[in-house]
């Protein structure tokens, strides 16, 4: 049984329009130098700060994944390997570096030399080197924000102060580079917009607790993540998420799910294999298996458990977001707890862990994570491996085999249970 019926609402088109408008802005900046642009990492990004300068973010990861999803990532990866990058290096890095070497962009438009390369290396040491290389290749200034890793349940006061101080230094740096005065009011308004976008996004995430879930909180959530990272601090972002919430709420009211019949509810851990995004999605669609929650959709920010940016304390709340409220910078026990809550509160049948070869930092320890869920909590857990960017690491037959076997076993367990009842 092949089931490819999927939710395609107006938000999918709106998302596309918003992302194209963003790339057009970047293209304009490449020609005119206006608006100023800042390269940043998705995880714990401080896009609100940029609003204080009317600056636009560039996300090298988004460029890389856009190429992968369009099946265009291998050429730039090979170009970077020709330059000496090793097979074990992160393929996001190689795809991005290769793009610059070869002058490739996801849309075919131009990408500007960033006004500032802002390395907010949250939970990922590779970024430090990646952004250093970008600065060298693009001959752009680099500023590194050192974000302390989450070593306990909450960050210490000095952790927050440390990041706030660096954010203030970033402001000074950007004032010098752009020749513009930092607009505090605009910054505060951006933080206000973010808090509203986050509230709407959180409500959307909670709709997936309903059965059937009105959207896939992994595959569809990825569609919604673009606007979340680029626009959440703007009125357009708030508007987008208002429309999205209304549209998905209407689906809930009508009892509509992702599939005609939602057969399985799963929690996804790890990024998707972007070069085989469609193929991968179909492997779940075949089983009418809907992701009701995912850790990947919290890479840029974890909002479904209550955190919001605070316009009354804009710098502190941006710092808190960077340190404590994105999955990448949180410690492993916190990630366990996040997934455990998803399984319990979102009523999932099992957990799928997708290890990506590129990202040792995100993936390290996932073998133990599998053991924790499967053995200690008794939650059916599947572990599969490939990559998020490099198409050479995706073995379709092996992946399909594991996914089919996992759902066969869940099917068997459900059938046995219903016989007992």
């Amino acid at each position: 049984m092949t089931e490819k019926k999927e939710y395609r609402g107006s938000i999918h088109q709106q998302q596309k329009d918003l992302m194209l408008a963003w790339y057009e802005q970047l293209d304009h900046a490449a020609i005119t130098g206006d608006p100023p642009t800042v390269s940043m990492m998705i995880s714990g990004n401080c896009v609100e700060l940029l609003e204080g300068f009317g600056a636009v973010p560039i996300y090298p990861e988004v460029n890389a994944l856009q190429l992968a999803i369009r099946h265009q990532s291998l050429d730039p990866i090979l170009a970077a390997e020709d330059l000496g990058y090793a097979a074990d290096n992160c393929a996001y890095v190689k795809a991005d570096i290769g793009c610059i070497l070869k002058g490739i962009t996801p849309t075919g438009g131009r990408l500007p030399t960033p006004t500032l390369i802002l390395c907010n290396f949250v939970g990922c040491n590779t970024y430090l080197k990646w952004f250093e290389h970008l600065a060298k290749l693009q001959q752009a200034p680099l500023y590194v924000i050192d974000v302390p890793f989450m070593r306990a349940d909450e960050p210490s006061r000095s952790d927050v102060d440390y990041v706030v101080k660096q954010l203030q230094e970033t402001v000074k740096t950007l004032e010098q580079l752009t020749g513009r005065k930092f607009d505090h009011d605009r910054f505060r308004q951006a933080v206000e917009c973010s808090s509203r976008s986050e509230e709407l996004w959180s409500q959307i995430k909670h709709l997936a607790r309903r059965s059937p879930s009105p959207f896939d909180a992994y595959f569809d959530a990825i569609t919604l993540m673009g606007p979340l990272y680029v626009y959440r601090g703007k009125p357009e972002g708030v508007e987008f998420f208002e429309v999205a919430l209304a549209e998905l709420q209407a689906k809930v009211d009508a009892g509509q799910g992702v599939y005609e019949k939602e057969h399985f509810r799963v929690v996804m851990e790890g990024p998707p294999p972007y070069p085989y995004f469609r193929t991968f999605r179909d492997m779940f669609a075949k089983w009418q298996a809907c992701a009701v929650a995912s850790t990947y959709s919290t890479v840029g920010g974890l909002w479904e458990f209550g955190f919001r940016h605070d316009p009354e304390n804009p710098f502190e709340s941006v710092a808190m977001h960077m340190i404590a409220q994105n999955v990448t910078n949180r410690n492993y026990l916190q990630r366990y707890e996040q997934i455990r809550r998803y399984v319990e509160e979102w009523n999932a049948d099992g957990v799928i862990i997708h290890f990506v070869k590129s990202c040792r930092l995100f993936s390290a320890g996932q073998g133990d994570m599998r053991d924790y869920f499967a053995k200690q909590l008794g939650v059916p857990t599947l572990y599969i491996e490939s990559d998020l960017e490099d198409p050479r690491y995706f073995a379709e037959a092996q992946t399909r085999n594991r996914i089919d076997a996992f759902f066969e076993s869940l099917e068997h367990a459900k059938a046995t249970l219903s016989t007992r009842v």
Partner: protein
């Protein structure tokens, strides 16, 4: 009498089994062919040969379940299931009481936790690497010019098994050549190879709870050296059916028989979704 079949298209060999249920379930015939390049043809040959052995016309087989990597290429099959599910089922039938299956095939090694009804509770498999699989063994045999049938018994005669440092199926060849150059005996080298594979497999298997009874399945289970090397490391005997290589096909045939039994109330067929017929 109900007659059904299971066809397991593996990376190296294709296995077919015809089973009947006439008050008692039994294997009527088996067939084994090399898979080769034409997967569909291999499945047909195995199925046709098996039916011939059973003395029945293919049209009299009520239901066929395909399994293994080539399962979607079985044009005559009624549906497909993964070999993981089929191995659990087949092992429980042939070796009652099975709670853990260690399956070593041509390119896969896997461990499966099995429930009381032959259902899969959990499983782990090798990923992106053929270490600990039949291929590792086949490569070692080839580089030494010894047939695959001989390597197991020879390994048992090792007096001082060598240490094979690599777990890489490709680089093991240079390790072996180096030991041959040092004048090590074939028995000691093969002893080392078997221990290396057993250790590699065990590190995978230990990710599950190794509950007895443990049953070894797959083509490598025919290798007595491998069975004993694993038993030594695990510290207990494993069950090995004479039909170990056919267990995936047996499991598939058992599911096919269940499908023919309209009164069958429990198990995987009960759900309207059940296993799917395509991809």
């Amino acid at each position: 009498m109900r007659i059904a079949a299971g066809v397991d298209v593996g990376s190296t060999q294709t296995k077919a089994v015809v089973m009947s249920d006439n008050g008692g379930v039994e294997i009527v015939a088996r067939a084994l062919v090399d898979t080769g390049a034409n997967v569909q043809r291999a499945a047909e040959r195995a199925f046709d040969t098996c039916c011939r052995e059973a003395g029945i016309h293919t049209g009299n087989v009520g239901f066929v379940v395909g399994t293994g990597y080539g399962r979607y290429k079985i044009a005559f099959g009624n549906t497909q299931m993964t070999e993981i599910t089929c191995h659990a089922k087949g092992a429980s039938f042939l070796c009652p009481g099975t709670r853990t299956v260690i399956d070593m095939g041509g390119q896969d090694s896997k461990a499966i936790s099995v429930g009381a009804n032959g259902e899969v509770l959990d499983f782990v498999m090798n990923d992106k690497c053929a270490a600990g699989t039949g291929r590792f063994l086949a490569n070692s045999a080839e580089v030494m010019g010894i047939s695959l049938e001989e390597v197991g018994p020879l390994s048992l005669q090792a007096k001082h098994p060598v240490k094979i440092a690599t777990v890489c199926t490709v680089f093991v060849e240079s390790d072996i050549l180096s030991y041959l150059a040092q004048g090590k005996t074939a028995e000691d080298i093969l002893g080392g190879v078997h221990i290396a594979i057993a250790k590699r497999t065990l590190s995978l298997v230990r990710r599950l709870n190794l509950e007895p009874e443990i049953t070894m399945t797959g083509g490598v289970a025919r290798n007595i050296g491998m069975v004993q090397a694993l038993e030594q490391l695990i510290g207990r005997k494993m069950q090995v059916s004479p039909d170990a290589q056919f267990i995936g096909a047996v499991g598939a045939a058992l599911f096919a028989l269940e499908k023919l039994d309209q009164s069958f109330e429990s198990g995987i067929w009960r759900s309207d979704h059940a296993v799917s017929g395509g991809h």
